[in-house]
């Protein structure tokens, strides 16, 4: 009797914990897609990735032990083929006015105050000064990329396979395809920049 009562209590506690964990996990996963506008944005991003996957299928696959020539040729070919396939794409194809408004709400919310200033410095520090906000253009390969604060990445909708958010020194938000090293879309002046401290000499 006592045993079955005890078992019942244990089971009850287990189910409660499991339920809470499940709810937490589900909440964590669904966090980014509660906004239907952003859910639509992610769907479009997935469609872009599908296009890239299709293009890559027609090319010799890149394995994990390639030479520099193969890596270079593969990336260039993928970029050129994607650019040709979406030659009609313009700035705002993915960052539509509605998506822009939703993203700006996240950016503005996260980048306010002293903590926000620190994040903005991280984001724009060492990022390329003259990256053209131009769809289908190559991301300048001679330039470093900005570091995107992990906190912000947790708030922005999570992008599919090898698409990433990057920022330019001017504060433009760039949707970058890391595989093709290409600008998929660009949102000028998405964040206000922070005045940079004077640089120390690097040899």
């Amino acid at each position: 009797m006592y045993l079955s009562k005890g078992l019942g209590v244990i089971l009850c506690v287990m189910f409660t914990i499991a339920g809470a964990n499940f709810a937490w996990a589900a909440d964590k996963k669904s966090e980014k897609v509660t906004d239907p506008v952003l859910a639509g944005f992610i769907e479009n991003a997935k469609a872009y990735v599908e296009l890239r996957t299709k293009i890559e299928k027609d090319l010799p696959p890149l394995k994990d032990k390639e030479g520099a020539e193969e890596i270079n040729a593969h990336q260039r070919t993928v970029r050129m083929k994607i650019a040709a396939a979406r030659s009609g794409a313009r700035r705002g194809s993915l960052f539509t006015p509605e998506v822009t408004a939703s993203l700006k709400r996240i950016l503005d919310g996260d980048l306010r105050g002293p903590d926000g200033k620190m994040a903005r410095t991280t984001m724009t520090e060492e990022s390329p000064a003259h990256v053209a906000c131009k769809v289908n253009a190559a991301y300048p390969s001679n330039e470093p990329v900005s570091t995107v604060p992990p906190d912000l990445l947790q708030k922005l909708p999570q992008l599919p396979d090898n698409l990433e958010y990057r920022f330019s020194k001017r504060g433009d938000l760039i949707l970058r395809d890391a595989k093709a090293n290409m600008i998929v879309d660009c949102l000028p002046g998405a964040v206000s920049t922070v005045k940079k401290s004077p640089e120390t000499k690097t040899e």
Binding site: G67, T147, P150
Partner: protein, 317 residues
């Protein structure tokens, strides 16, 4: 007669220039370049080197690589960790040659493996490059004896990557856990300093899952940080670039070197990790030991509950 005098004059000038250059550059001034090892150098230990921010293709990077080769002759390390900025500037096939393959040709010939992490100057497609051994991934892990190595992409610490890192660290029962990535979360660098955003998300994982040592680059100097929450942090980001005099005086620094390029030599023997930091010219600029966090915990039999994850998993020292 006149020509002989002119010739003698040129020989004199040449002699003075060579002497001047030798006096200014200790590498040229050395009679016999060599590498003095202050590590146990045991046969069955895990021996490796660290060379961050190397990929300039410049003469100083080649000096560092040459010094590493000298050290390899007496301390045969099996592999090299590259905590990012592996190739500066353009990344055409010729850049892979001039900024990596040629400077490190002797080590590559000796079958030394390189394991790279991505820095802010690196194209993520480096993950497919055969000599960087990244398994085609932006973040990955590998094991060597009692050590688990985890390479992260600190330029883009997505929730997906964090989840992976947690799983990786939680799942490993190795005595040693060494994580390497580009941006230091503790640094006295005047240019960048500690990456606090990254620290917020990474440090709790490192503490909880028993990471012993963290190796970063990005700051172009060498620095050893006083243990933070039992973890030892190294910045070794001067194998190619140098930001002279950029280490600011903070309480964080246990040792630093910012007047020339440098690299690290590391050896793991049992519960002890031995490290030695060597300058471009072969000077030892820092050396010492780190004890495995696991070894410092009380044995299971007399252990009081500490809430430590590793003890919860029953992995006794």
């Amino acid at each position: 007669m006149k020509y002989a005098r002119v010739f003698n004059f040129f020989v004199l000038i040449l002699g003075i220039s060579v002497w001047g250059a030798a006096a200014a550059d200790p590498l040229l001034a050395q009679d016999e370049p060599r590498c003095e090892i202050r590590l146990p150098n045991e046969k069955d230990s895990i021996r490796f080197a660290v060379a961050g921010d190397a990929g300039t293709g410049g003469s100083k990077q080649r000096d560092v690589a040459r010094q590493m080769t000298l050290c390899h002759a007496v301390f045969p390390f099996e592999f090299v960790l590259m905590p990012g900025d592996n190739l500066y500037g353009s990344e055409k096939p010729k850049d892979y040659r001039t900024k990596f393959e040629e400077p490190f040709a002797d080590l590559l010939k000796a079958e030394v493996k390189f394991y790279a992490a991505l820095g802010n100057h690196d194209n993520p497609e480096q993950r497919f490059y055969k000599n960087f051994n990244m398994e085609g991934e932006r973040y990955y892990s590998f094991e060597k004896g009692p050590v688990q190595f985890v390479a992260l992409d600190s330029t883009y610490m997505s929730p997906e990557q964090l989840e992976w890192a947690e799983k990786e660290l939680r799942g490993s029962n190795k005595k040693w856990k060494i994580v390497f990535f580009h941006h230091p979360i503790y640094s006295s660098g005047g240019r960048h300093g500690s990456d606090l955003e990254l620290r917020k998300v990474l440090e709790p994982l490192f503490v909880q899952y028993g990471v012993d040592v963290v190796i970063a680059g990005h700051e172009h100097f060498y620095e050893r940080i006083r243990p933070q929450k039992e973890i030892t942090y190294f910045t070794s980001g001067a194998a190619g670039k140098l930001r002279k005099g950029n280490v600011e005086k903070t309480d964080l620094t246990a040792a630093s070197f910012d007047t020339d390029r440098s690299f690290m030599l590391i050896e793991v023997t049992g519960d002890t990790l031995h490290f030695q930091s060597v300058s471009r010219t072969g000077q030892t600029v820092d050396s010492g030991t780190v004890t495995a966090r696991e070894a410092e915990r009380p044995k299971a039999a007399d252990a009081k509950p500490t809430g430590s994850n590793r003890e919860k998993r029953g992995e006794n020292p």
